[in-house]
Amino acid sequence: MEESLDSYIDKGLVKTYLFTAVIWLCIATTVGFLLSIKFWWPAFLNNIPYLAFPRLQMVHVNGVAFAWLFTAFFGVSYYYVPRLTRQKLFWVKGAWLLYFLWNFIVMAAVIELLLGDNKGLPYAEIPIWINYIVVAAVVIYAINMFGTIFTRQENQLYVSLWYLMAAVVWSALNYIIGNWIPYYWATGTEGAMLNGFYFHNVVGMMVTPLGLAIAYYVLPVAADKPIYSHKLSIIGFFTLAFIYPFTGAHHYIYSPIPRWVQTIAIVCSVLLIIPVWVVMTNFFGTMKGKWTKLTESMPVKFIILGSVFYLLTCFQGPLQSLRSMQRVIHFTDWVVGHAHMALYGAFSLFIFAAIYLVWPVVSGKELDKILGSWHFWLGFVGFSIMAMVLWAAGLIQGVLWIAQVPFLNTVWDIQPYWVIRTFAGAMMVSSFFVLLYNMWKTNKESAQSAQAD
């Protein structure tokens, strides 16, 4: 049965997408690493306009979000969608077209941001002409996914596919709302409201469902056991769909946007605990009786660690949205620590799990276990240090601001933490290069042994 399911997959396509995604990951986080140096050594690369602090910041953030996460989400979906629908991809040429289009978008965005062209909206920095192409790309992807799912041969519609379908719809709506309205029409506080709506939904309605789709697919396969409860999957999905879109305004608490909008955002942020715990109960339930896999299987290792971080992120999130917490941590490094826990700690780890599961199938050879351990531990330890120092730095600076300490003094006080962040970041970046090398090596060896046969 395994063999026959594999035959639905276009291996070259998945391989190209994933390898490209990891290359982008290495580039985007190397930029993050250079950026982190500027925090404690401001003279570093500071007289070249194209490498100015804000420009590198935008390249890093957009790079990890759109070039790494989304390329990888596309790539992994070309693997699990055909398998779950027992159907070849509806439009393979479209998937290749998307590949070139998406990489063109990423490169154009990087060049534009380095030239200083940006819209001035957090997370929607990419210039408007590129946004049009992104929408075209999402449409191509949607045709491909809906085409495959609606002509499927498998009767059951597994929960991963729900998340995927919903995410495609949400992405399209959210992207259009967030990039056009606050840029052309919504002025002032209204713009802030829609910007908050958009940039929380990038994480909540685009990255989260696509990441959970992967986790829901990888975990049962890797643990070799069906998902714990179908009912919990349904509850998790609908509570997420209903609660998440209301939380956006929690990025502008204490701003002049109406207080009731802020209150809705806070209440819903706290309610978000429900979908998260439901999903996690489901994951940990699935692991029941299979915990030995944690030491044997790389995908399980990554999924479980990712789940733990997901749980922590979504425990921290509601806490952060409370007004009393906002007073201290808003505008500080704390939030940056939170962003890394969500996007690296949870969703990047889910993708890594998928890579360890998928790469052997598409390249024909298992990934090296020792290099895999290096990837896992360097990333885990590096990230843990980075998160701790960012939270500490955020709290310290927040408290010092309240104490009315002159601004620069508060900067000097947290600079030692920024130095540690750079070293922790270097560990993370090197873990990504280990993964890249591992993928490249496995693929090469597999090709060589195929030739030898």
């Binding site: 409201m193 209301f246 002049p256």
Partner: protein
């Protein structure tokens, strides 16, 4: 089974658009969200001006150079921000802005009320090389907005500074002052000797001095604190008992110096950080440095 797919699509669209309408569209229709009026420093309603000319162009430079990545323009009513930065953000301030630049991260201080806080020359020097006026700063320098020196700004630098000088000036409209800072300086210097000299006051002043001033002025007031080495001019030496001539040497003159800072030097404006009584306390304390020498 095709049905479940449709349910998901409908639920997906439905909930999302519902949220968009409730927290996106309905607030938009509230008149308060479209107002172009704010409450000025004297508590009176005052219309906000739409940016024009140089300042409007400067706003584009501000976006292009990514100043918004490090600076917010959003003062909250909590966490002592009003005291540190200035008046709390009001809806009217923003409603001509497209896109809005409230920002999300303070790697540098809030700039809502930057207008009138520093001179144009200070702003040029700061943009050209921030460390020249703020030693130890991590702000990105922008030499590419200049023709080789802070004295020769390009058109874009001129526009940018024109924009910075408009920030937060609307609240001063109708009060007789040009900016929040002018209003504040006037408030501060209007304070006469509210605090009388006494040993207790001097003791308080010592605490304030050791926390805020000794890094530059030295623990014994000799102008040779750890941060002094890189400064030009050097922090003032209080042990001589002399004061900078052009600023006068009465208590009130010295008070104004501390409150407003010394232009074109590292000496900060302490009125933004210290309360008037604290300034008096530290003033009486720094005067003791020269007395000790005499005694």
């Amino acid at each position: 089974m095709k049905r479940s797919g449709n349910v998901i699509l409908i639920a997906g669209f439905g909930f999302f658009l519902l949220a968009f309408v409730i927290i996106g569209i309905i607030p938009w229709l509230q008149p308060k969200q479209q107002t172009h009026t704010i409450i000025n420093l004297k508590g009176k309603p005052e219309p906000v001006h739409e940016l024009t000319g140089l300042a409007a162009k400067g706003r584009l430079v501000y976006i292009h150079e990514g100043c918004w990545v490090c600076h917010t323009q959003f003062v909250r009513p909590v966490s002592g921000e009003k005291q540190y930065y200035g008046p709390v953000a009001e809806a009217g301030t923003y409603n001509y802005q497209l896109p809005m630049l409230m920002g999300k991260r303070r790697i540098g201080p809030d700039l809502s009320d930057e207008g009138g806080k520093h001179t144009n020359d200070w702003q040029y020097a700061h943009l050209y090389d921030p460390t020249s006026v703020s030693p130890g700063t991590i702000m990105q320098p922008f030499p590419w907005l200049f023709h080789g020196s802070a004295a020769k700004p390009t058109k874009r630098a001129v526009e940018l500074v024109a924009y910075l000088q408009t920030l937060g000036t609307d609240v001063a409209e109708g009060t007789g002052y040009k900016s929040y800072w002018q209003y504040r300086a006037a408030q501060v210097s209007a304070v006469s000797a509210v605090v009388k000299n006494s040993p207790q006051v001097v003791k308080e002043g010592m605490k304030i001095f050791n926390a805020n001033c000794q890094a530059c002025h030295g623990i014994k007031g000799g102008g040779n604190g750890p941060a002094a080495a890189s400064l030009k001019p050097k922090p003032w030496d209080f042990t001589s008992g002399k004061w900078i001539k052009k600023y006068g040497s009465t208590d009130k003159d010295i008070y104004t110096r501390i409150a407003q800072g010394v232009p074109h030097t590292a000496m900060p404006e302490w009125a933004t950080t210290l309360k008037p009584n604290q300034i008096w306390e530290v003033l009486y304390y720094i005067k003791t440095f020269s007395q000790k020498k005499v005694a």
